[in-house]
């Protein structure tokens, strides 16, 4: 193996020192012919005849040079380089064709890359939550409307019915306008979540604290947690952002937490939960406003996430909630 590598290195070196090796070999050939001619003259031939004989015995000089080059270098590599140079010259000659070809390639590669990044995020990478086999998203499906969202009432019913086997969290995603202290405003994706949302996902805040149960109530729900990505992008990763007050949809809300990148990271982590779905590239879960009876039935659509204790990955649905099914199975 080492010998093969050594030989390859020799050949590679020869490719890059071609002119000096060619000159070296020319000198060697000249010496060969001279010596052969001298021998022939000594054998009694005329100088012309002697030189002719020497050439015949050696073989065609150009052919010998070629043989020598092939033996010492990497002929396939040199041919490739020559082909590439030829190709480039041809491309330069017809710029129209070149542009079309490059654009086609760029589009094709770009689309494939984009498609793969999406599939990689959505399908191939596992969720990064702990004991992910216990996590389910509850869909509601009826003959008329498969995969409908839940209403808040529905959420409360299911939570009550499955309280001893599972913990449920609800969320509702929305686009909101956010004004930071410096007055700049932007539209961001916000998920309104139940206070236990992060407990169900078993994700602890990177900085700050979890939501408190009473913050589920109307008028006490003015707290938000920033996603890691948005925190870095908008607040430059400053830790003193905790406790800052920003305006969200014209209400003052306090930033109480920064979440680790596991959650809502690059629009990847929450995939099957549809939680912090890929919004405008920035999102933060906020409190759901009162998942209580005070919300009118069907007030807003909710996605329900469930952590089912004792459920193994892909066990049959174990939480006998009336409208629940576990699509992860």
């Amino acid at each position: 193996m080492i010998a093969i590598i050594q030989r390859f290195v020799c050949r590679l070196r020869a490719v890059f020192s071609k002119p000096s090796l060619d000159a070296d070999f020319s000198a060697e050939l000249a010496q060969h012919l001279e010596a052969a001619t001298a021998d022939n003259i000594r054998a009694g031939l005329t100088p012309d005849e002697a030189r002719r004989k020497a050439h015949i015995a050696l073989g065609g000089v150009e052919q010998i040079r070629e043989l020598h080059r092939e033996a010492r270098g990497l002929p396939s590599l040199e041919n490739l380089a020559r082909d590439i140079r030829f190709g480039l010259r041809m491309l330069r000659k017809s710029p129209g064709f070149t542009v079309v070809a490059i654009a086609t390639l760029a589009l094709g590669i770009g689309m494939n890359t984009a498609m793969f990044s999406m599939l990689n995020g959505l399908l191939l990478r596992p969720l990064s939550f702990s004991q992910v086999g216990q996590l389910f998203r509850l869909d509601r499906n009826s003959p008329e409307q498969p995969q409908a969202d839940h209403t808040a009432d529905n959420f409360l019913d299911i939570r009550a019915a499955s309280a001893d086997v599972a913990e449920l969290a609800g969320l509702h995603t929305w686009a909101s306008s956010l004004n930071a202290a410096d007055g700049s405003a932007e539209i961001v994706g916000v998920a309104r979540v139940t206070a236990n949302f992060f407990d169900v996902l078993q994700v602890a805040p990177l900085y700050g604290r979890r939501f408190r149960p009473e913050e589920e109530l109307l008028r006490q729900n003015n707290v938000i947690a920033l996603s890691h990505e948005y925190w870095l992008m908008r607040f430059g990763g400053r830790k003193d952002v905790i406790g800052t007050v920003v305006r969200l949809d014209k209400q003052s809300v306090e930033i109480v937490a920064v979440m680790p990148s596991a959650i809502c990271g690059a629009g990847v982590a929450c995939r099957s939960l549809a939680a912090c779905a890929r919004a405008s590239g920035s999102r933060r879960p906020r409190r759901i406003s009162t998942p209580s009876r005070r919300i009118s039935p069907g007030g807003f659509p909710m996605v329900i996430v469930m952590r089912c204790w004792g459920c193994d990955r892909c066990s049959p649905p174990c939480c006998a909630a009336p409208t629940a099914r576990s699509p992860s199975c």
Binding site: A3, Q6, R7, C10, R11, D24, F25, A27, E28, L29, Q31, H32, E34, A35, A36, A38, D39, A57, L58, G59, G60, V61, Q63, I64, L67, H68, E70, A71, R72
Partner: protein, 117 residues
């Protein structure tokens, strides 16, 4: 009409060069070619130029060394010399050839109707 000459078998030229250098010491390309022709009693068809490809191959394998020197008639010439590694290879290859030629000889020389044991 001259007697037909034998073509060199693939791979044997390298071996001849090694053998020549092992017995004659440092030599230049032309000298090696002449020596092989003489020892082969001109029964071999040797294109002298092909020696140089063999010399490159042998150098890459570190079986021989090359150095510019001065020839007997005071001209610059490139001299080749066998290395210890080259001697080892020569020994191994020679044994190999002897084995093969022994087998060929036995098969070709087997009397009709009788298989070599």
């Amino acid at each position: 009409m001259p007697k037909e000459k034998l073509d060199l078998l693939q791979g044997t030229l390298d071996l001849f060069v090694l053998q020549t250098l092992a017995t004659m010491g440092a030599m230049h390309g032309y000298g090696i070619a002449r020596r092989i022709e003489q020892v082969g009693a001109d029964a071999l068809m040797l294109n002298q130029g092909t020696i140089y490809a063999a010399l490159v191959r042998l150098q890459h394998g570190k079986w021989i060394d090359a150095e510019w020197g001065t020839s007997e008639n005071n001209r610059k010439a490139k001299y080749y010399e066998i290395t210890a590694r080259g001697r080892k290879r020569l020994l191994a290859e020679t044994e190999n050839w002897q084995r093969i030629s022994g087998v060929v000889h036995r098969i070709l020389g087997a009397p009709a109707g009788e298989l070599p044991s």
